[in-house]
């Protein structure tokens, strides 16, 4: 620096440094050791909502975000209280969590494991989030769940349907409210057998990654148990945008049912292609050709438009459910946002309440206390009917919906109609089921970090 002239700025800087020097003994303190990661100390507690905001699942992430914001409002005693009025546990008073006002931070998972972990880390390290909620892919869910386990905070997965999330990759700090591929298979198979007969021949198109495989495995197992035959299982690359070359051989294969183990954009395109090839107008083996999409979501239904008419699938939740919790939630969500909630929105909403309730009942934000409060917790009034958070694998057990694309929808939101509510007993499996990592799969130890 050749500039020696005294400026106002320079003087201020010097003054600030001198001031800091004088004050050093009182303010120069390392942070006090807290009992667990991100223990909330002030009057607020921060939740992290990690959802896809860019990329193909951005709209779904946005829906999850809306639901989570609604949940925070209800926790803080704003709005109409939503499911707080119908929830069987009455620990929540609408005064935040343990008297602390609930705030939240949001992040973008981009539906990529790396980006999702980066976003979750910034919530944990920078914003002091005490739990992470949301997401729309199993890969992301497993990756972020692992991170939260290491960091010592609670993770609640959003839309994740692969068996592995609460199967071989289950974690003590991680919870899943959403249903899984096994449950889809178990719920769908009897309906399929009833509607299509027990001697069908199925052709599977499967997205070539982990979720696709677990779903294919589950559906194949449960349909074969009912007498179906599997003609072929074909893996399609994730990056595919056009499925014509996979659909074209189906009619000649001797199959009479096409099962699309696809999600999101893949499913929209493969179903559109299948309809283009006129599969549903054909007769094979003397029977009407049918298409099944085991995992449905409202956004996929919207994207697929008319093509879903009559196509069967399963869902975790649908806003047309008539129980008290569902009605309260749909009313609250609908009045605020002008549309009914999607099933991933409901999962994210329910989980925020479940977490808050567990903290209230445990009387502490300590993740291990929360885990204890959630394990084996039975509740009702959040929209799905009677639900159990199983202690052995942190999977929720509740009724599963079998739905069908409506023939004559009256508006943009009732494109799916509920065919059957499969009772929870039919979709329950032992925690050491081979599709879920077998006997070796363990939750491990609870981690409270710090």
């Amino acid at each position: 620096m050749s500039n020696k002239s005294v400026t106002r700025r320079g003087v201020l800087k010097t003054g600030a440094v001198a001031g800091a020097g004088v004050a050093l003994p009182t303010i120069f303190t390392a942070s006090s050791a807290s009992a667990f990661t991100n223990e909330p100390t002030g009057g607020t507690v921060t939740l992290g909502f990690n959802v896809p905001q860019t990329g193909p699942y951005a709209d779904e992430g946005n829906d999850e975000l809306l639901a989570q914001q609604l949940a925070v409002e209800h926790l803080n005693g704003e709005g109409d209280g939503g499911c707080l009025n119908t929830f069987t546990s009455k620990a929540l008073k609408g005064n935040g969590i343990l008297g602390k006002k609930v705030t939240f931070v949001t992040g973008d998972t981009q539906t990529k494991s790396d980006a999702a972990r980066a976003s979750a880390k910034s919530m944990i390290e920078k914003d002091g989030a005490i739990m992470i909620n949301g997401g729309s892919s199993s890969g992301v869910a497993v990756a972020v769940q692992g991170l939260c386990q290491e960091a010592g905070i609670i993770f609640m997965a959003g839309l994740t349907h692969a068996n592995d999330t609460t199967g071989k990759d289950r974690k003590k700090n991680g919870f899943r409210h959403f249903f899984n591929a096994y449950m889809s298979g178990a719920a769908l198979a009897p309906v399929l057998a009833k509607e299509m007969g027990a001697d069908r021949r199925a052709y599977h198109l499967t997205a070539d990654y982990n979720w696709g495989w677990t779903q294919e495995e589950s559906i194949v197992a449960s349909t074969e148990a009912l007498g179906w035959e599997t003609v072929n299982t074909v893996k399609t690359p994730l990056a595919s945008t056009d499925f014509s070359s996979y659909i074209a051989p189906v009619l000649n294969s001797g199959a009479d049912v096409l099962v699309l183990n696809h999600y999101g954009g893949n499913m929209v395109n493969s179903l559109t292609n299948a309809i283009q090839f006129g599969l549903l107008d054909k007769v094979a083996n003397g029977k009407d050709f049918k298409i099944v999409v085991p995992l449905y979501s409202e956004l996929m239904a919207a994207g697929a438009g008319e093509n879903i008419k009559g196509v069967l699938g399963s869902m975790n939740y649908n806003w047309q459910l008539e129980n008290e919790g569902s009605k309260a939630f749909v009313k609250s969500f609908g009045e605020k946002y002008g549309k009914p909630p999607s099933n991933s929105a409901q999962t994210c909403y329910a989980q925020v309440l479940l977490y808050a309730d567990a903290v209230e009942r445990a009387g502490s934000f300590n993740p291990c206390a929360v885990v204890e409060a959630l394990e084996g917790f039975e509740f009702d009034g959040l929209g799905n009917g009677k639900t159990l958070y199983r202690a052995e694998d942190h999977q929720c057990f509740k009724d599963v919906l079998v739905v069908r694309g409506a023939q004559n929808p009256t508006n943009a939101y009732d494109t799916l109609e509920i065919v059957e509510i499969t009772p929870v007993d039919q979709v329950t499996y032992p925690p050491d089921h081979p599709m879920f990592g077998g006997a070796e799969a363990t939750l491990g130890e609870c981690n409270e970090g710090a």
């Binding site: 990329g55 399609t236 990056a239 945008t241 954009g265 929209v268 090839f277 006129g278 054909k282 994207g303």
Partner: protein, 343 residues
Amino acid sequence: MDAILLQILNGLDKGSAYALIALGLTLIFGTLGVVNFAHGALFMIGAFCAVTLQRILNLSFESVDESQTDFLGNPLKVKTPYVEAWFGPEAGAVIIDWSVPLAVLFAIPIMLFVGYAMERGLIKFFYKRPHADQILVTFGLAIVLQEVIKYFFGANPIQTPPPEALRGSLDLGVMVGFDPNAIIYPIWRLVYFVFATVIIGGVFAFLQFTTFGMVVRAGMADRETVGLLGINIDRRFTIMFGIAAAVAGLAGVMYGPLNPPNYHMGMDFLVLSFVVVVVGGMGSLPGAVLAGFLLGILESFASTTWATTTIPGINQIIIYLVAIIILLTRPRGLMGRKGVMED
């Protein structure tokens, strides 16, 4: 045999989209020497022209129907499109039904204008800049364009169905003597193939048989000399940019009924179309078309069960594998010219 024919059809169909996009990309590159990373975005904008027209045709006024209720239990608002009110319900319904073919007419002026504006407003300042800068600026533009579309239309795919008459499929096998159901093919895919052939033929005819096209070709071969002859080659190249944009846009409009458009469909095609252009040979229009169809057919064959059981995962990598083999055996792609983009 029927399976092979079916996959050839599929390949031609996939190849049509690749060839159309690659053709436009090569036109831009060959005339202006610009690497246009926003070309996929032009394809996407084309598809959204169809979505927009569909939305416009479906613009409706609301009337309350007391007999029905919406999801919150309030009286249902019934919508009637203006088109149906003006032209009568039947004619209106037909117009709405034919919105995709109509969108072709709607998209041509829009795409020409988009292309023209892009060239005059942005690309023109980048002729003298390194290719890397061109890539960065067009990539930035592509992101901006797709984010704008996402802002207005959301991230979810939007159906743009073909007209009722062109839905469903034809049993081509029966026509040439195979068993029924052996070769079933969707009508719209055949329409797309024919459409692509017409457009490609049109572009070639335009370059081959018009004076304008002749000058452009001369300019592609030797820009300086043509300039010295007193011809305003820049203006013609600008128009070519508009035409290239229109080709990409029309490819997008007609693609909508095959797979519903979403805001990132351009990016899905971007890398692939560059591979196609390079495999065809930089700056060669026939090369781009040939490579488009070739890769389309190979991709289709690689996705048959026979291929994937012989070599697992071949369907995932076939395009790239073929690109590597071709570039290693033919240094400038299938029909590339010497000295283009090699420095």
